[in-house]
C-alpha cells in the first residue's frame, strides 16, 4: 500500500476527499484565481468548467502543488497541506493528465506508463544496478499491473511504439494510462477530449466512467465540451475570471444565471 491509498483509506465514498479553501493565486500582479473554495468528494466525477482563461488549469496546478497560492488552504484527506513539492503530492495519490500532451517523447508507450508507476517502486540504486533479484522482481510485478492498464485502455498493439509516433487520440489515451498507473486516489484530467472527434470523445468518456467504476477513482475533470461534461460529471464548479460563479449538479448549473451569462459573454463588471 502506498502513501496515497493509506491516507485515503478511511475516507468513504461520498465523504470529502479534497477541499480548496479560499484560494487566491496571482502571477506578478495578474490574478489567476480569486478566493475560490470548493470540495471534491471521494468517488465522484467533479468537473471544473469555465470560459477560456477562467483559471481552470491554474486550479489543477494548485491541486497538484505545481503552483503555490498566495492565500488559502488545500485540505487533502482531512489534512492541511503544507509546502509539499509536486512529486510528493503525486506520492499522496494525486495523478493527472495535461492539456497539451506531456508524454515523454523519447520513450515507448510501455515505458511512459511504467514511469507513471514510479510512485509504487522503491528498489534502491544498488539493487537496480545488480538487477537480478529485488529490482527485477519489482519491475516484473509492476509491469504486470501496467499490462492490466494497457489491456484496460485497449492499447496492446502500440505497447512498444515510441509515443512520438502515435496519433493524437492514442497519445491522450497513453497519457491517461500513465496517470492510472499510479493507482491514484484522485485523478485530475485537463481537457482529456480536446481536439478529438465524436467517436474518440465517446471512447474517452467510456474510459473515464470505467475508471471511476472499476477502480473507484475520484476524478476532477476540465473539459470544454458541455454535452460530455454534463453527461459524465456528478457535480461541477464553474470559474470565470478566476472566481467561482457556480457550484452544483449538472441540473443546477444548467439553471444558474451567472453561468449562463458567463458563457453567453455578458460583459463583466
Amino acid at each position: 500500500m502506498n502513501i496515497g491509498s493509506k491516507m485515503a483509506s478511511n475516507i468513504q465514498p461520498g465523504e470529502e476527499l479534497l477541499r480548496i479553501e479560499n484560494i487566491s493565486l496571482s502571477f506578478g500582479g495578474v490574478k489567476a484565481l480569486t478566493e475560490v473554495s470548493f470540495d471534491i468528494k471521494r468517488g465522484e466525477v467533479r468537473a471544473i468548467i469555465g470560459p477560456n482563461g477562467a483559471g481552470k488549469s491554474s486550479m489543477l496546478n494548485v491541486i497538484n502543488g505545481f503552483y503555490h497560492p498566495q492565500v488559502g488552504e488545500v485540505w487533502y484527506c482531512g489534512q492541511k497541506r503544507k509546502g509539499l513539492k509536486p512529486f510528493q503530492i503525486a506520492h499522496q495519490g494525486i495523478a493527472r493528465t495535461f492539456q497539451n500532451i506531456a508524454l515523454f517523447k523519447g520513450m515507448s508507450t510501455l515505458d511512459n506508463i511504467m514511469t507513471g508507476r514510479s510512485t509504487h517502486m522503491r528498489a534502491n540504486m544498488l539493487s537496480q544496478a545488480i538487477w537480478r533479484g529485488a529490482a527485477e522482481k519489482e519491475e516484473i510485478k509492476n509491469r504486470r499491473f501496467v499490462e492490466e492498464i494497457i489491456d484496460f485502455l485497449e492499447i496492446q498493439s502500440i505497447r512498444k511504439t515510441p509515443v512520438g509516433r502515435l496519433p493524437y487520440g492514442l497519445q491522450k489515451r497513453v497519457e491517461l494510462g500513465r496517470a492510472l498507473a499510479a493507482e491514484p486516489v484522485l485523478l485530475l484530467l485537463d481537457e482529456p477530449m480536446a481536439g478529438m472527434n465524436v467517436e474518440e470523445k465517446e471512447d474517452m468518456s467510456r474510459f473515464i466512467l470505467d475508471v471511476q467504476s472499476e477502480f473507484g477513482t475520484t476524478i476532477a475533470i476540465i473539459e470544454h465540451d458541455m454535452g460530455v461534461v454534463m453527461d459524465i460529471s456528478d457535480r461541477l464548479v464553474v470559474l470565470d475570471y478566476g472566481k467561482k460563479i457556480g457550484d452544483g449538479t449538472p441540473e443546477e448549473i444548467r439553471n444558474n444565471q451567472a453561468v449562463i451569462d458567463a458563457y453567453l459573454g455578458v460583459p463583466h463588471e
Binding site: 505545481f66 508524454l103 517523447k105 523519447g106 540504486m125
Partner: protein, 358 residues
Amino acid sequence: MFYRQAGDFKTTYRDDIQTFPLKQDRWGYYIVLAIAFLVVPFFINDYWTSAVMLPFLIYAIAALGLNILTGYCGQVSLGTGGFLAVGAYGCYKIMTSFPDLNIFVVVLLSGLITAAVGMLFGIPSLRIKGFYLAVATLAAQFFLVWLFNKVPWFYNNSASGQISSPERSMFGYAITGPNADAPVRYLFCLTLLVMLAWVARNLTRGRLGRSWMAIRDMDIAAEIIGVNPLRSKLSAFAVSSFFIGVAGALFFSVYLGAVEVGEAFGINQSFLVLFMIIIGGLGSIFGSFVGAAFLVLVPVLLKNIMVNWLGWPTDIAVHIEFMVIGGLIIVFLIAEPHGLAQLWRLAKDKFLLWPFPH
C-alpha cells in the same frame, strides 16, 4: 534480412525485458564477448593496446558515464575533463596512501570519490537547465584542474607536478606500472568496461532510468507524476561521475602511467567525450561504445594516412583531425541527431522488416 524473429516468442516478462530480446542479437553479443575475452588478448601487441584498445575501452567507460547524464537524463555537462582528473588523482592518492589495496578496489574507490564530487557539482542542476547548466559545469572543469595543479598535496609534492603510477598487480600480473603487459592491461580495462556497461544497462532499463528519461523529455510533467527531480538528477550526476571517475583512474594508472593535469584532463577531453556520445548516440549504451570507437579510430586512421602514408608533417594532420571531428559533429547533428546508434537501429529495423520497405 538475416533476422528470423518468427517463432521467437516470450512467455515471461523476464524474457520480454531482457537486453537482447532477439535470439540472433543475443548470440551476436555472446560471440563478441567471447572474441573480446578469449581471442583478442592473444593477438594484440603494444601498439594496438596503447593506440587503440586502451583508449577505446577507457573512453567507452567515460562515454557511458556522460551518456547517462546527458543522453539519458538530459543534463549537458562540459566538466568531464575535470571529473576524469578527480578519478585520476583520487586513484593516485589511494594508491600511494594504501599500497596494499587491490588495484581493482582502488579504481572503484576512485569512482566513488568522483561520484561524490560529481553530486556536489550537480546541485545547481536543480535550479538551472540546458546550456546554463553546461556553462555551470565549466566551473567544475576549470576549478578542478586548477585545484590539482595548485595544491601540491594532490601530487604528493612531486617536483614536476606530475603524478605517476606505481606498479600494482592482481593475481600475480602487473596491471599498472612499466612492467604491465599489454594483454593484461587490456583485459583489466575490458573487464571493468563490461561490468560497468552491464550496470549502465540495468540502471537505465528500470525505474531509475525511466525517471532520468522522464526528466530529460519533460521535467515538469515528470515531477508532477511523481518523479523526484532532486534524486533523479543527483543520482544521474553520481552514477555518471562514478563511471567517469573509473575512466579517469584507468586513464592515469593503466593507460598513461603518468599525467599532468592540464595536459591530460583539459577542456578538450570534456569536448571529446561529449562528441563521442553525440556521434555515437545520445541515450544509447551501444552508442557510447560506437562513439568511443569512432573517435578513437578516426584520429589513428587520419594520422596513419596523412603522416605515415602521405608523409605530411604531424601538425597538419592534427589540424585536419580537428576539422574532420568538428565537421562530423555538425554533419551528425544535422543528419542524424541520435548518432550512429540510431543509424544502426534504423538499419536493424530495415533488416527486421525485410523485404518490406516499412
